[in-house]
């Protein structure tokens, strides 16, 4: 993190609106990725990001170390997404995943459906790491920073995530090959 970035975070913490808006421009996609990883829904993820940005602005004074500001933002987004996720609990998870797939009963959608359920079966952290990787093409270090992981942990996480997906999708993969 360079000095200008840190200065930006510091200004945002001290109530500089422009700095905060700049942070929104640079970081909202990351937040979206995190929320999406949890919710698996673009609309809900967008709402969650909006909510968490508002909350972050209101609670920004709680952050002491400007360097931790991005991680803190991510944490807020994750909590917010969890809240949303919890609230929709009454709707069964499997049903929701199956629902949008049903109207498209072709081959590729079958693979999609399999992929969805495989992704849903992954631990949340794995899903988040994957999402960040594929959405933002982030390198390992940035992902680790964003998710608050220690150095080197991500390599195992992504490896396991890919392996798990691969195992579940093997039949489909073979057929496509």
């Amino acid at each position: 993190m360079d000095a200008s970035e840190r200065e930006q975070y510091r200004a945002a913490i001290h109530g500089d609106r422009e700095a905060f808006e700049m942070i929104i421009r640079t970081h909202s996609r990351t937040l979206f990725a995190i929320a999406f990883a949890i919710l698996q829904s673009r609309e809900e993820a967008e709402d969650a990001v909006q909510d968490s940005l508002v909350k972050a602005w209101k609670m920004r004074w709680r952050v002491r170390d400007p360097e931790k500001f991005p991680a803190w933002l991510c944490m807020i987004a994750r909590h917010r997404a969890h809240d949303v996720f919890r609230r929709r609990r009454p709707v069964p998870l499997s049903a929701q995943i199956i629902e949008p797939v049903e109207p498209e009963p072709n081959g590729s959608s079958a693979l999609d459906q399999q992929l969805h359920s495989a992704l849903a079966a992954l631990p949340e952290l794995h899903r988040a790491a994957l999402t960040l990787r594929y959405f933002e093409e982030m390198d390992y270090r940035t992902i680790e920073n964003t998710l608050g992981l220690t150095n080197g942990a991500l390599r195992g996480i992504l490896g396991r995530a890919l392996a798990s997906l691969r195992k579940q999708l093997r039949p489909a993969l073979v057929s496509t090959d």
Partner: protein
């Protein structure tokens, strides 16, 4: 390369995401060439990556995503303006937060204080103990400062009252002004009414002053007797004058001369001689009414005027009534005389007529006498002059009365009481003797006696020798007999001497000198006993003593000694042998105007013997100060904590209740929301 094979998933993933170093990439490729299983996995992973990329690419946020986020943020958080923003920003500052917390704590402390009604007194208990026991300085200070404060209050009261006073002040002058104006008018009046008055009289009027202005109002009207409208009026004027003169005879001569000048005469003179040879008397002078005023002026020059009254009686109506009736009576007389002259009729009738004539004549005479009297009264004004010689009240003799008050202090009151009683004889009469013993066993006696003048000196001397004289007062009074003031040749006589004696026990005597001091020593008990013996050696005694020991091992003895003044300095010297003498304070009462036997006068010494205790060392020095400060701050903090605790305890139920209510309301709201969904 077992590690690569075992963790092939991680390696492949890292390879996929370009996270392998060149060395690692080389290792992976080597392994993939060797291991068929891993090669297959590599293939599958690559395929899956493609699928994943495709899938995620669909879900990726569109390019306008950031703009949407910004727009919603701006919509939901409208930019704050002005003061609110400033306040919100301010609260974000560390210093502001600290201040706010401090303010809250202070408020809590204050609240705690209000609840408990306690004030911050983090004074050390030990110090307090010392202060109260040793010197009672705080109370003294309070006592001395109290009147000051009271004085200040009074002053402020005065200030407050000052305004009304000042406001009230200007009121009188106008009234006095009007009075003086009235006065002027008053004085001016006679001047206008009586322009004929002689300048001499006018100057005299000014001399006499305002109080006699009344007389001058009356005078002009009376002085106008010859005025046209008053010619036929019959006025009787009289005056009384009281004068103090040097010689009675001279005055009478002069009055006679004045009366002659004014064509009057001295009607009567009478005089009395007083016991001191001075004369008092009265002279009645008749003068012509028109000369009355001049006559009075002259008389005033004789001596000091004490009193003067002027009276005028108008007898005009009565005079003319009588005059008319006289004329009628004369006519009646004439007719009766005529009846007698004719001599007709019976004798009885004649007798009747004669009788009637007699009655009428008698009446005529009476009326004539009355008129004559009035005439004489009107013709001459009557001036009654009372004359008193000066120094009328000079006394004839003097009586010297001597009264003495004697206050004695004695060790044995009763013995002296009896001794004095034994002095009684024909020349010494005891009029009153009283021996009192009060509930606490204190004895006092009061005696009164009358002593023949020639014996008085000796008797008083003897009585004085019985005890210590605290006070002796003699009052001599010269009583004049038969008058007041001075007299050159009056006789002087001595009366019996009255002596009042008060005898009290020595303890009650107020000390001539009071000393307070402290002695620091290690063994208080022992030194206190030493002190007692020392005092007895110097002819004194211990009047009271107390001994206390506090929990710190500090011992404290208060001893009050009384010694005669002559031994005072010796005792003070010997005190130094007992320990370190500190804080010596001497208070001496110089009773001026009373003869006192200073050598034997009692001196009080209040001594405080104390030890420093076992734990506490000297109370001076850096460490003691430091310790004291620390203890004080610690107790202050403890006190604050206690207050905060009280406040929190006070507020806690409310906070809990409010939080519970809020939580409950939120829960209900949430339940409703979920139900609606």
């Amino acid at each position: 390369m077992a590690t690569v094979h075992d963790e092939i998933d991680n390696w492949l993933a890292a390879d996929l995401y370009g996270e392998l170093s060149d060395e690692e990439q080389r290792q992976l490729h080597t392994h993939l060439v060797e291991c068929a299983v891993c090669r297959k996995t590599h293939q599958e992973t690559k395929t899956m990556n493609k699928i994943l990329e495709e899938t995620f690419a669909q879900q990726k946020p569109d390019p306008a995503f950031e703009q949407r986020m910004l727009a919603s943020f701006r919509q939901r958080i409208p930019e704050r303006s002005g003061l609110l923003k400033l306040l919100a920003d301010l609260m974000r500052l560390r210093a502001a937060q600290v201040t706010a917390v401090a303010a809250v704590l202070l408020a809590l402390v204050q609240l705690g204080r209000m609840i408990t009604g306690e004030t911050a007194t983090p004074q050390r208990a030990r110090d307090r103990y010392a202060n109260e026991q040793l010197f009672e300085q705080p109370s003294q200070v309070a006592a001395t400062s109290e009147p000051d404060r009271a004085g200040a209050l009074e002053k402020s009261d005065e200030l407050a009252a000052g305004k009304p006073k000042d406001l009230a002040l200007p009121a009188p002058p106008p009234s006095s002004g009007t009075r003086s104006e009235l006065h002027k008018d008053f004085k001016a009046l006679p001047a206008t009414v009586a322009p004929a008055k002689t300048p001499q009289a006018e100057t005299a009027a000014k001399e006499i002053g305002s109080e006699e202005a009344m007389n001058y109002v009356a005078e002009p009207s009376s002085a106008e007797t010859p005025a046209p409208e008053l010619v036929n009026r019959k006025l009787i004027r009289n005056a009384t004058v009281e004068l103090e003169i040097v010689s009675f005879d001279d005055a009478v001569q002069k009055i006679t001369a004045f009366a002659k000048e004014e064509r009057g005469y001295v009607a009567t003179t009478d005089s009395q001689k007083q016991a001191n040879g001075k004369l008092r008397g009265q002279v009645v002078v008749k003068v012509l009414p028109e000369n009355l005023d001049r006559f009075l002026q002259k008389i005033r020059g004789l001596g000091e005027l004490k009193n003067q009254t002027l009276g005028t009686e108008d007898v005009t109506k009565a005079y003319f009534d009588t005059d008319a009736r006289l004329k009628n009576a004369r006519v009646m007389e004439q007719r009766l005389v005529d009846m007698m002259k004719t001599k007709t009729g019976k004798v009885s009738d004649l007798l009747q007529v004669e009788k009637e004539l007699g009655r009428v004549r008698e009446e005529i005479e009476k009326m004539q006498g009355e008129l004559k009297y009035w005439d004489s009264q009107v013709q001459f004004a009557t001036v009654t002059i009372s004359l008193v010689e000066k120094d009328m009240e000079e006394p004839a003799a003097f009586l010297i009365k001597e009264r003495s008050q004697l206050a004695l202090y004695a060790p044995d009151v009763e013995k002296i009481y009896n001794d004095i009683k034994a002095l009684a004889s024909s020349k010494v009469q005891i009029t009153n003797a009283q021996l009192n013993r009060d509930y606490s066993g204190r004895i006092s006696a009061t005696m009164s006696m009358l002593i023949a003048p020639e014996e008085s000196e000796a008797v008083i001397g003897r009585v004085k020798s019985f005890g210590r004289v605290e006070n002796f007062q003699t009052q001599t009074e010269r009583i004049a007999q038969g008058g007041t003031g001075m007299a050159e040749n009056a006789k002087t006589k001595r009366d019996k001497v009255e002596l009042n004696i008060t005898i009290s026990r020595e303890e009650q005597e107020q000390a001539f000198q009071q000393t307070s001091l402290r002695i620091r020593t290690s063994s208080v008990d022992e030194k206190a006993r030493d002190l007692r013996t020392l005092a007895e050696k110097q002819g004194g005694r211990a009047c009271s003593s107390t001994f206390t020991r506090d929990p710190d091992g500090r011992e404290l003895a208060n001893i009050w000694l009384r010694v005669p003044m002559k031994n005072y300095s010796a005792l003070m010297q010997s005190l130094h042998s007992l320990g370190k003498v500190e804080d010596v304070g001497v208070h001496r009462q110089d009773r001026t105007g009373t003869q006192i036997d200073e050598a034997n006068a009692p001196a009080d010494i209040s001594i405080q013997v104390y030890s420093q205790g076992n734990i506490v060392s000297s109370e001076t020095g850096l460490f003691a100060t430091l310790r004291r400060t620390l203890t004080q701050s610690a107790s202050a903090i403890m006190w604050s904590l206690r207050m905060i605790g009280v406040a929190v305890a006070f507020l806690a139920p409310w906070v809990i209740a409010i939080v519970f209510i809020v939580w409950f309301v939120k829960r209900i709201a949430r339940a409703r929301q979920s139900k609606a969904r």
